[in-house]
Subunit: 321 residues, 2 copies
């Protein structure tokens, strides 16, 4: 069999706080098959590996068995490229150090490599997306949390210990909003995530009980950043204020990142980007406002043109391809 | 002459807002001769080049003439490695773009290279100082302003346009203190510089007129960060509060930098470091407090063991050596 001597596929896995997406990727960056499972990190990691195996093994068999595969690449929160471990991920229930690359290797009999989820997305973006051909860029994922991947001189920044690029945890408002999972105050993630937008909406409604708002028609538990966007589209003032507030904080943070590594572009991913110009305009304005002269009007601020899950699956697969 | 075929020296120049230091450096990093001139950027750049030439040419002649030299390296505010120009430096009076590498080359007949002043210091630190052998570190200069040099994977981060590493201009307090030269509000430089410490001391005295303080014995115009340190040494409460406040802001900013590039060490330079533990302790505390779990208790925060001017001269000379 030619597959045995010439493996040509990789498995790319995007492990997220809620769900895990995975796909079979060829050397040209095509996702041949993909699926997802709930991450269910309340249950033991072995259960997760088992669930993943049950879904993936048939997909592997369909394209020629494990001999056709170079290996498995995974992106995960706090995934460490050097150790292959997920280490102290705040948004997963697995505690401490989880040797996930080792467990994947044991279960599948394939080489397995791990990186930070946001770094995986950045690699996908660099190979197949908006950052194609760029040597200096930053990706920011505005999802349930805020993730980031940093590329300098064409290389992913992982730092001394493999954990570089935790920009969602940088402090943007001294003594600001509490991050319930980490205990820190005022980090970017508590404002510029879907969760943050929801909390801002609730705070703004409580602060201005006199202001009418379509947002008041929704029970607080069911409020999402999508609903805030839909209300903004309908002209709701509080909903628009929520995005202005979020963009002001995000743009200020982006300015700080630009002054660190001077990238060509910042690429925004994730649920919050669905709000389009409602989030883009105030973010861009605040970024430019806070940039030191030499950086002004130079940095492209764009939305990713890859599907978020595709970028991460592709980038994870690129670890081994 | 052997010098003609085997040039062995470089000129290292550290161009600062107030004065310019320069030296003749050999391949082992020894500074054979050094001197300084006022930068005097109110006068035309040609005058500066002329002054520099008058001082340097005799030094060059003494060690064998220009044939003994590989070239000239200079560190300067907003010095751009790619273009050889000083571009829009806020703390110099020369406006716009100054082609200083070109002018040095013309005047001295030697190859001339330019980089950011803080990057030059970081290179000196990496080759001969506290960061010797390190591949991931950040240097922060706490002087009249706040400069920074970033090294990742053993390479200086200059970014897409040569301007990366302007960490003194990152925003640390939203809508905070005005930076008179740039018009921005709340950047690190307005708090963690010698100028910032002086202003904090004045603000603290005005805010608490009831509190006695040795600082009140000095006219505001003559207050310096050294005087604040001396008063703190004598037990002055306001003086200590000034350093606690400064350290809290600096430490929070350093935590953000760590979460960007995950360095092994942060090396502090410059006048403010003379305050020793008065500035180090609150800075370290605030840095650790604001770090995301995976980064805690990992990063060395140290003072440079090179003389500040030596580090910059050595680092600048390393551009050509």
């Amino acid at each position: 069999m030619s597959n045995a001597t010439n493996p040509k596929y990789a498995i790319g896995i995007d492990l997220g706080g809620t769900s895990t997406k995975f796909g079979i990727v060829d050397k040209d960056g095509h996702i041949l098959k993909q699926d997802r499972i709930p991450t269910d990190s309340e249950k033991p990691i072995d259960f997760f590996i088992q669930q993943l195996h049950e879904k993936l093994q048939p997909m592997i068999d369909e394209v020629g068995g494990k001999e056709a595969f170079i290996g498995i690449g995974m992106g995960a929160p706090n995934g460490n490229l050097y150790t292959g471990n997920i280490e102290y991920a705040a948004n997963l229930h697995w505690k401490g150090i989880v040797p996930v690359a080792h467990l994947l290797n044991e279960k599948f009999g394939l080489k397995a490599m791990l990186t930070n989820d946001a770094n995986a997305a950045a690699m996908g973006e660099m190979m197949y997306g908006a950052a194609k051909g760029m040597k200096h860029f930053i990706t920011i994922t505005l999802g349930t949390g805020v993730g980031s991947g940093i590329v300098i001189d064409g290389r992913m920044v992982v730092g001394n210990d493999g954990f570089a690029g935790e920009l969602g945890h940088t402090i943007v408002r001294h003594n600001g909003r509490l991050h319930k999972l980490t205990g820190s105050r005022g980090c970017l993630e508590v404002y510029a995530s879907a969760t943050g937008v929801r909390q801002t909406a609730i705070e703004f409604m409580e602060k201005h009980p006199e202001k009418p708002s379509l947002l008041r028609n929704f029970p607080q538990d069911s409020l999402t950043s999508e609903i805030v966007y839909e209300c903004a589209l309908k002209g709701d003032v509080i909903a628009k204020d929520v995005f202005d507030f979020t963009g002001e904080i995000l743009g200020e943070a982006l300015a700080n990142f630009v002054m660190f590594s001077s990238p060509q572009a910042i690429i925004l991913f994730g649920g919050l980007t669905k709000a389009g110009s409602y989030i883009m305009n105030p973010t861009k304005e605040a970024m430019e406002k806070n940039l030191y002269q030499v950086f002004k009007n130079k940095v492209q601020l764009v939305f990713s043109n890859l599907k978020e899950s595709d970028a991460a699956i592709l980038g994870a697969s690129a670890l081994v391809l």
